[in-house]
């Protein structure tokens, strides 16, 4: 088994694509169910963490701005590290991720040893 980083992104700003309250509660339930299901399949390399929605962004001129990130269309919703045998398997797992429900996406990266592979 190799480790893969799954990075969740979506547009949290544009009002037209945001879930309403009821949808949001159901959406959170599905996140929980997804994590629990991955835990039961022994797919979690590290325990999932919760991330706040405040955030800061540091730009090239070293200026620091607080979120929300008007200039960044999609921001990070969270990340996990999973265990999978291949990119294909990792992608299959990512297809079940609730971030996709509201136009989000998942970026996948495989962990490699320090000496490269």
């Amino acid at each position: 088994m190799k480790e893969f980083l799954l990075l969740f992104r979506r547009d949290f700003i544009n009002k037209e694509v945001q879930p309403d309250n009821k949808e949001y509660v159901a959406h959170l339930d599905r996140w929980h169910e997804w994590f629990e299901s991955l835990a039961a399949q022994d797919r979690l390399a590290t325990p999932p963490q919760h991330w706040d929605m405040k955030g800061k962004v540091v730009k090239a001129n070293k200026s620091v701005t607080n979120g929300p990130y008007v200039e960044i269309k999609e921001s990070i919703g969270g990340m996990i590290i999973i265990k999978a045998n291949s990119y294909e398997e990792a992608a299959e797992i990512a297809q079940g991720c609730p971030i996709l429900e509201f136009g989000g996406n998942v970026e996948i990266r495989k962990a490699t040893p320090a000496n490269g592979e």
């Binding site: 994590f35 629990e36 299901s37 835990a39 039961a40 399949q41 022994d42 979690l44 325990p47 999932p48």
Partner: protein
Amino acid sequence: MEERALLPRLFRTEYQKIVSVLCSLFGIKHIEIAEDIVSDTFLSAAEHWNTKGVPENPTAWLYTVAKNKTKNYLKHNNIFEQKLMPDLKAGADQSEEIELDLSTKNIADSQLAMIFTICNPVISGDAQIALALNLLCGFGVQEIADAFLTNKDVIYKRINRAKEKLKEANIRIEQPSLSEIDQRLETVLTTLYLLFSEGYYSTSQDTMLRKDLCAEAMRLSYLLVENPATNKPAVNALLALMCFHSSRFDARLNEKGEAILYEDQDESLWDKELIATGEYFLNQAASGNTLTKYHLEAGIAYWHTQKADTPQKWESILDLYNSLLILEYSPIAALNRTYALAKARGKQAAIAEAEKLDLTDNQFYYSLLGTLYTDIDNSIALAHFKKALSLATSPVDKATITANIDRLSNHG
């Protein structure tokens, strides 16, 4: 009859106490000398009590004789003296006479120190359990061999190798400092948990022996709870877990020693007193801010002491298994979580989750699928039970699966 049973009983309770005190005094290097002195004490007891009758206070008699034998050993054994004296604990001046302190407090302190010595990661888990049974619980090599379903030679070698390793590593017999207790305690709890499981889940047919193992694991856990330094939430949680499980000990086997499934158990055979004791320790465990796997497992075991199938029961068990799996994955927890999911959310939801587990070398995986498919698609259920039967090895498991196959075939 009473008198003949007395000595073995005292051997079980007192042997380990005196050995612990002597080991604490002498150090791990001289563990055999400690064992010799105590064995010799019991030999004297057997001879004297046989001819002159049992003394009024047999325990006090044993302690006095052990003290004298220790003194004599120190006095008459020159080589021994040269070897041992440098190792004796500080405060014991060479010229001073060694007095063996067999007070209740020193016994408890010595036993606690011995628990930490034996539950040391330098020796393997199996060896820790064997050594704990031998030195902390007064079990003979034959009894330990019976518990592990192996022969005396294997256990004898395992115990001696473990002792050698402790000596080589020069492990000090002492209670850990307050700052390292949490870390050291983790290993101790793992060993006590394994010791209990050995008794509870062993396939040995000897029910008395298995109960003894569980009782000893509980006694040692209680020793930790009684000492303020080791009375930690995790220890209380482990003790609660053991109480809840033990409460069903008599209900889960029939007269032939066959397993009775949880759902078919006679609730009136559950030990209410042990359940209440478990609840007490579970409440004691609910302090501090670390949630250990013992807390979660004790919570799951608590809900199993409530026989009625309420939605709250299965939602709670499901939540606890989810947390447990995130803390520490195990195939059996994943399977049990899926069963709880079926109880809480229905079989269809559970089947979808079960098929993702893909534990294709695990008989319990197929038994679970068989159970989930029963009444949904009995031919698929039957195929799963047959697969489970082909993987099962123990007679108890085979009988349980065969009963399921028969039930489905008759209805089919």
